[in-house]
C-alpha cells in the first residue's frame, strides 16, 4: 500500500509536469515533493515542466550529469534550478497569469516550512529569491553572496547553451576560485568537513533515482538474454534417451509438483492422453520459484527462470506508465461492452412494469402479459481463460508477453470478470500447464511474471489440458484466449492409429489438423476460442485460420496485444 501511495504521488507530480510542458512522453529526472507532507509541490513541478517547454533537456541534462560528478552536486543543482525558475517564470507569466499567484504561494510556503532553519548557500539564495517574490528585501549582505545571487538571474532570452555556459562560468567564479580547489568544475573535490556541511543542505528538488536504477537493470538484461537463450537450446538438445522416472522427476523439479493427486492425474491422462496424444503426459502445476534442492540441468533451468522473472518485472516497471494506460483503456473498453450487453430487452410478463399500450390485449384477447418483466441484475456469467504459449520460440519476447498478459489480467480483474491464466510448454513428453492465477483468486496476478519459455509446444494436448482446467461448464460460459504461433511442434510422435506406420512427427499439417480438431471439440462444448497470432513470429496465417476460423486476432506487434484482445473480447461479449 505504501508503495502504491508513493506511485500515486509520483504520478500526480508527473501529471503536473506534463500539464505545463504539454509533453506526456517526457520523463523528468527531477520531481518536487513538499518536505513535510510529501505531496507534490505544484509550483516547483510546474517549473520542471516549463523548463522542458522552453529549453533543450538534452543539453540541460548533460549539465546536471556533469554536476553529479562534483562533491557539491546538491548545491549546484539547487542553484541551477533557482536560476531556471527565475527565467521560466518570466517566460510563462504572459501566457499563464496564475504563475504570479503560485509563486507567491510557494514563497509563503517556504517560509512556513521546515527548510528555513537550515543554513548554507542554497538556503540563503532560495530565501533571497522568495523574499523578493514577496516584495521584501533579499537580506543578503555579503558581497560574495550578492554577486552569486545576481548571477542566478538568468536572462530569459538566453538559449539553453547560453544558460549552461553562464552557469559553468558562475560556479567557476564563485566556488572553484573561492575554495581554491581545482579549476575544472567536473572535478571539484572538497575536504570532508565542507562536504559534510554541504550534505546538510537538503535539496527541495529530489532526484528521481528510481528511473535511473531501472534503466541500469534493463541494460544488464539485454546482455543476459543471449546467454539465457543458449541455455535453453542446450536443454533442448538433451531431450532423448531419458527414462520415464527420470523424466517425471525432472519435470517436477523444474516446474513444481502437480496440483492434482496421483489418482486424479491418472484419471485425466486416461481421458486426455489418448488418440493422437498416446504416450504423452499432462502435468498441471502452480510453478515453482527458487532452485533449492534441484541439481544439474534442473537447477540451471530454475536459476534461469528466476532471472527471467526479474527481467519480466524490470521490463514491466520500466514501461509501467505505458502499461498502466493500457490497463485503463482495456478496462474501460470491456466495461462499456458489458454495460451494453448485459441489459436484456424487457419481455412481456404477468407482473412487473405496466405497459399501457398492451392493456387492450388483456381485455380483448385475454392475454394477461401486459407488464414488462425485468431480467436478473448484471453478474458476469462468463469466465475468461488466457493460455500462453511458453515454448522456446517465444524466447526473445518473454518480457513483452508477460507484461501484456498482466495488462489483460488486471483489466479483467478490475471489471470483476473471473479469469484464469496459464502457460503451456512441452518437455520430455510432458505438456506442462503452469497455472498462474485461478478463477477464485482475486488478488493481482503478479504470478504471471513467472512466465518463462522453454521446450516445444504440443497445442492439441494443451487444449485438452485447458479443458481440464476450465472445470464445470454447466453454469458459466467460457472464453478461451490462446496465444500461439500456430505452428505446433513436439519431438514426441502423433498417432493416427495403431502400429508403427501410423506414427508421424508432431509438426506441420498434421499437427495443425490435430490442433484444429481439438479446438473444434472445445467449440462443440460451447467454449469460445480466440486465437492470438502475432506477426513477429512467422506462423502461417492460413494455418491459424484452420484452427481458429474467424475468431482469430492478428497481433501486429506484441506491444498491441492487450488492445487486440480487448476488441476480440468485446466482440465475444456482445454476441453472447
Amino acid at each position: 500500500m505504501a508503495k502504491l501511495k508513493y506511485d500515486y504521488r509520483k504520478r500526480r507530480a508527473l501529471n503536473i509536469v506534463w500539464d505545463v510542458s504539454g509533453d506526456y512522453r517526457y520523463s523528468p529526472d527531477f520531481l518536487s515533493f513538499s518536505p513535510e507532507s510529501h505531496q507534490p509541490n505544484l509550483y516547483l513541478n510546474a517549473v520542471i515542466g516549463l523548463t522542458r517547454k522552453y529549453y533543450d533537456m538534452k543539453i540541460l541534462n548533460a549539465l546536471f550529469d556533469e554536476l553529479k560528478q562534483s562533491a557539491m552536486e546538491d548545491l549546484f543543482s539547487d542553484l541551477l534550478w533557482l536560476g531556471l525558475e527565475g527565467c521560466v517564470y518570466q517566460k510563462e507569466l504572459p501566457h499563464r497569469p496564475v504563475m504570479a499567484y503560485l509563486r507567491r504561494q510557494q514563497a509563503r510556503q517556504y517560509f512556513a516550512g521546515p527548510l528555513t532553519i537550515r543554513h548554507g548557500v542554497a538556503q540563503e539564495m532560495q530565501a533571497a529569491r522568495w523574499h523578493e517574490v514577496l516584495g521584501e528585501k533579499n537580506g543578503l549582505v555579503d558581497p560574495w553572496a550578492r554577486g552569486l545571487y545576481q548571477g542566478l538571474a538568468f536572462d530569459p532570452a538566453w538559449t539553453t547553451e547560453e544558460v549552461c555556459h553562464h552557469f559553468r562560468e558562475l560556479t567557476r567564479k564563485y566556488f572553484v576560485s573561492r575554495l581554491l580547489v581545482r579549476e575544472s568544475l567536473e572535478k571539484v573535490i572538497i575536504s570532508n568537513p565542507v562536504a559534510e556541511l554541504l550534505k546538510f543542505l537538503v535539496p527541495q528538488f529530489a532526484r528521481n533515482r528510481d528511473s535511473v536504477l531501472n534503466f541500469q537493470i534493463l541494460k544488464h538484461d539485454e546482455n543476459e538474454i543471449v546467454s539465457g537463450k543458449k541455455e535453453r537450446n542446450g536443454l533442448m538438445a538433451l531431450l532423448t534417451g531419458q527414462t520415464a522416472v527420470k523424466n517425471y522427476e525432472y519435470i517436477v523439479s523444474c516446474f513444481g509438483s502437480s496440483i492434482y493427486s496421483a489418482s486424479k492425474v491418472l484419471d485425466i491422462e486416461r481421458n486426455a492422453c489418448t488418440g493422437p496424444h498416446r504416450g504423452s503426459h499432462l502435468h498441471f502445476t502452480r510453478g515453482r520459484l527458487g532452485s533449492r534442492g534441484a541439481v544439474g540441468e534442473a537447477s540451471r533451468w530454475l536459476q534461469n527462470a528466476m532471472k527471467q522473472r526479474a527481467k519480466n518485472l524490470a521490463y514491466y516497471k520500466e514501461n509501467s506508465e505505458r502499461y498502466r494506460k493500457s490497463i485503463a483503456h482495456l478496462t474501460a473498453q470491456i466495461r462499456t461492452a458489458l454495460q451494453t450487453t448485459y441489459m436484456k430487452l424487457p419481455i412481456p410478463a404477468k407482473s412487473g412494469e405496466l405497459v399501457p399500450g398492451s392493456l387492450w390485449r388483456g381485455l380483448y384477447v385475454n392475454d394477461d402479459r401486459v407488464f414488462y418483466g425485468r431480467e436478473e441484475v448484471f453478474t458476469p456469467d462468463f469466465t475468461v481463460d488466457i493460455m500462453l504459449d511458453a515454448s522456446a520460440s517465444r524466447g526473445e519476447y518473454q518480457r513483452v508477453i508477460a507484461a501484456q498478459a498482466y495488462v489483460i489480467a488486471e483489466a479483467l480483474r478490475q471489471c470483476g470478470i473471473p479469469y484464469q491464466i496459464y502457460s503451456f510448454c512441452t518437455l520430455r513428453g510432458y505438456t506442462v500447464m503452469t497455472l498462474f492465477q485461478t478463477y477464485e483468486e482475486k488478488k493481482k496476478s503478479l504470478n504471471v511474471f513467472n512466465y518463462c519459455a522453454t521446450g516445444w509446444n504440443r497445442d492439441g494436448l494443451a487444449l485438452r489440458g485447458a479443458r481440464q482446467l476450465m472445470g464445470d461448464f454447466t453454469k458459466t460460459r467460457k472464453i478461451l484466449i490462446m496465444l500461439t504461433d500456430a505452428s505446433p511442434n513436439d519431438d514426441r510422435p502423433l498417432f493416427d492409429g495403431k502400429g508403427v506406420l501410423r506414427q508421424h512427427e508432431y509438426q506441420g499439417t498434421r499437427a495443425i489438423q490435430d490442433t484444429a480438431d481439438e479446438a473444434a471439440a472445445l467449440r462443440r462444448e460451447g467454449i469460445r476460442i480466440i486465437g492470438l497470432i502475432n506477426d513477429e513470429i512467422a506462423g502461417g496465417l492460413e494455418q491459424a485460420k484452420k484452427i481458429f476460423g474467424k475468431d482469430l486476432v492478428r497481433v501486429r506487434s506484441l506491444d498491441k496485444m492487450a488492445e487486440s484482445v480487448g476488441k476480440a473480447l468485446c466482440h465475444q461479449i456482445s454476441t453472447f
Binding site: D19, L102, L345, S574
Partner: protein, 272 residues
C-alpha cells in the same frame, strides 16, 4: 412549434459545409465524436437553418421498434395506432435526431433500414405503408470516445453520411464562452479555455477518464460563478466531483490550480 431555437451556435465552417451539402442532397447524417464536440448542438442548428420541426429520440439498450415508430393503444373502445416520434417525423417532414444511436441494439434498428435508404418508406404491420415526406432527414449522433464504444453495424452505417466531429479547439471554445458570458474578463476566459484544453489532453493520454471532460459542466460552473460562487467550488461541482476515482480529482484540481489563483471571485472573473 417544434423548430428548435438552439442555445448555442455551432462554430466550424468545414463541418457546416459538409453537413449542409449532405442534407441538401437528401442524405442522412451520422455525427461521430467524443464527448463535448457539439454533436447535438450541430443537429439543432441544422434543424433551425432548414426551418424544420425536430424530433429527438434518445437511444438506449431497451429501444425497440414500438418506441420509435409507435405502438398500439386503446382508445374509445378501439385498438388504434399511436404514432411514435420517428413516424411523426417521417410524416411531417421533420428532422429526426437519433441521439447515441450506437447504444441501441443493432437488431432493434433493422426496422429503420427502409426508412433510411432509397426506399424512404416504412411499413407498420397491420396499419399502413408510410411514404416519408421529401423534407424529412435523420441525423444520428454517436459517442466514439477514448475508451471505445459499441460499434454500429455495417448495414446501418451504410445508410448515413458520416461526419467525424473534431474536438473543440481553443478559438471556437473562447468564442463560445464569450457568447455565453458577454461580461467575462479576458484573463478569466483564457484560464477556463486552457483548463478545458488541458483536461482534453489529459484524457487523450488516458491519465484521467472522460467523465470530467465535460463542457456542459464547465459552462454550468461559470454560471455558478456569475451568481457569486467562488471559482474552485464552482469547478468542483461542475467538473472535479464528476470523477469518483480515488486519485483523479487531485489531478484535475492540479490543472485548475495551474490556471486560476486560490480565491477567484466574481469580481475577478466578470466586468461588473
Amino acid at each position: 412549434m417544434r423548430v428548435p431555437v438552439p442555445h448555442f451556435p455551432y462554430f466550424g465552417r468545414e463541418i457546416w459545409e459538409n453537413a449542409l451539402t449532405a442534407l441538401l442532397c437528401g442524405q442522412n447524417l451520422l455525427l461521430v465524436g467524443p464527448k463535448a464536440t457539439g454533436k447535438n448542438v450541430l443537429a439543432e442548428n441544422l434543424a433551425q437553418v432548414f426551418n424544420r420541426p425536430m424530433w429527438n429520440v434518445s437511444f438506449h439498450i431497451n429501444m425497440d421498434a414500438s418506441a420509435m415508430l409507435g405502438s398500439d393503444t386503446f382508445k374509445n373502445g378501439e385498438v388504434t395506432f399511436r404514432p411514435g416520434p420517428v413516424y411523426c417525423c417521417a410524416q411531417q417532414g421533420g428532422f429526426g435526431v437519433f441521439d447515441e444511436i450506437n447504444m441501441a441494439r443493432n437488431e432493434a434498428m433493422a426496422v429503420l433500414h427502409s426508412l433510411l435508404d432509397y426506399r424512404r418508406t416504412i411499413d407498420i404491420p397491420g396499419y399502413s405503408l408510410l411514404k416519408v415526406h421529401p423534407a424529412c432527414r435523420f441525423i444520428a449522433t454517436m459517442n466514439y470516445g477514448y475508451s471505445g464504444t459499441r460499434e454500429v453495424n455495417e448495414a446501418l452505417m451504410s445508410r448515413f453520411a458520416v461526419i467525424k466531429m473534431p474536438l473543440i479547439e481553443e478559438a471556437p471554445l473562447a468564442r463560445l464562452l464569450r457568447t455565453e458570458f458577454p461580461r467575462i474578463k479576458e484573463n478569466a476566459l483564457q484560464a477556463f479555455v486552457q483548463i478545458f484544453m488541458d483536461l482534453e489532453k489529459k484524457c487523450s493520454e488516458a491519465e484521467i477518464s472522460d467523465k470530467s471532460l465535460d463542457l456542459r459542466g464547465l459552462l454550468d460552473a461559470i454560471h455558478l460563478m456569475e451568481n457569486g460562487l467562488e471559482a474552485h467550488r464552482a469547478l468542483a461541482m461542475g467538473i472535479t466531483n464528476k470523477s469518483f476515482d480515488e486519485y483523479e480529482p487531485a489531478l484535475i484540481t492540479d490543472i485548475i490550480n495551474l490556471h486560476i489563483p486560490g480565491e477567484y471571485e466574481k469580481t475577478d472573473i466578470f466586468e461588473l
